[in-house]
């Protein structure tokens, strides 16, 4: 019984990428067709061969982690899914051309907000990616995006915010009122790629001033 194409079997084959964690996802219509299995292939754009993704052959779930296989952030990739139903229907669909550096979204940074009496220190921790260079060194977002910088805001009240920005990891908002609550918001920005992360938010209170006046 030759498998024939069935469009509803397979839809929306695409990469979902965040901080270079590249997950291939797809849907079917209706939601689940019992007995349908899926197989994933991937290739580098410009190379002739499609490669089968081990661990994603004849699976029933609708996602497949291709982070390692698409781990060269300068390369361009394609992936495709083949679905085969228990009645012999089949469908194959390919992603758009995927370029990790272009398509990945950036998660909020990891930040430690340290309250002092009249200042708040903010320490941005490096974000490691799942990628390694030729020497086996795990790359950070800063190493992948040369123009990456941090933008920090401290909301003092409804009308007044303080701003700091830069490429370094340590920042300090000073001349603050002791024993007062502030809202800090920190985003990662990559201007040449038109990328900006969602904010990391910290609510922090300056310490009481115990010095005798």
């Amino acid at each position: 019984h030759m498998a024939e194409d069935s469009p509803g079997l397979l839809q929306h084959v695409k990469f979902q990428s965040s901080n270079f964690e590249n997950i291939l996802t797809w849907d079917s219509k209706p939601e689940s067709i019992p007995g349908t299995v899926y197989s994933v292939d991937y290739k580098t754009y410009g190379k002739p061969e499609w490669l089968a993704k081990a661990g994603c052959q004849r699976i029933t779930r609708k996602s497949c982690n291709l982070t390692v296989e698409t781990g060269n952030f300068t390369e361009f990739y394609y992936a495709r899914v083949t679905a085969i139903s228990s009645e012999g229907w089949s469908a194959t669909k390919m992603t758009e051309r995927f370029h990790p550096q272009q398509h990945t979204t950036i998660k909020p940074p990891d930040v430690t907000c340290v309250p002092k009496v009249r200042s708040i220190q903010m320490i941005v921790h490096p974000t490691l990616t799942p990628m390694y260079n030729a020497d086996g060194h795990q790359l950070t977002l800063e190493e992948v995006f040369q123009d990456l910088f941090y933008h920090l805001e401290l909301h003092v009240n409804h009308t007044y915010q303080m701003h700091l920005e830069g490429k370094q990891r340590e920042y300090e908002f000073s001349d603050l009122t002791p024993d007062t609550e502030f809202l800090g918001s920190i985003v990662i920005s990559v201007p040449t790629r038109l990328k900006e992360s969602a904010p990391y938010v910290c609510r922090v209170k300056t310490l009481p001033d115990r010095t005798w006046t």
């Binding site: 410009g46 361009f76 758009e96 040449t192 038109l194």
Partner: protein, 154 residues
């Protein structure tokens, strides 16, 4: 600002080029059915020295203007993406004009190396049927912009 070795080009915003191409990218790349051929492949763009880069980007952008954009335009005219197309084309014209003035009269060995890289690209382009070649080359503007981005400073 772009710094292609000795050649400086100010007044071009790379994010703007990305934004322009992003509008047309998916519509163009989906028409490129041949995923096994890449025109701007590694041998063309990898390990380009600063001194080669000016010559190579000049040749590539001129080819894109005089061949790719020129002959691909009818397809763009059918879709409503002319503004993005014009942004790309006008910025490429501006860059080429700035590069031309920077490298007049120079004939260093770098020019020959850059020329050989460009000819690799052009030969691959000529080996395809013309419409397929135009679609593929236009769809590879993101590869070109990614490479140009290495020479860009905010």
């Amino acid at each position: 600002e772009f710094r292609f070795g000795p050649c400086r080009v100010e007044g071009v915003a790379l994010p703007g080029l990305w934004e322009a191409f992003r509008t047309v990218k998916d519509a163009v790349q989906v028409q490129d059915n041949n995923t096994s051929i890449r025109l701007l492949r590694c041998e063309v763009l990898q390990n380009v020295s600063d001194s080669e880069s000016c010559h190579l980007v000049h040749d590539l952008l001129k080819f894109y203007l005089n061949t790719v954009f020129k002959h691909y335009y009818p397809k763009i005219a059918e879709s409503n993406t002319q503004p993005s197309f014009s942004t790309l084309a006008n910025n490429f014209v501006f860059i080429v004009s700035k590069l031309q003035s920077s490298q007049a009269g120079e004939m260093p060995p770098d020019k020959d190396r850059a020329r050989r890289r460009f000819l690799l690209f052009k030969r691959a382009f000529k080996q395809l049927e013309i419409q397929a070649a135009l679609t593929k080359a236009f769809g590879e503007v993101d590869i070109l912009l990614t490479w140009m981005g290495k020479f860009y400073q905010l």
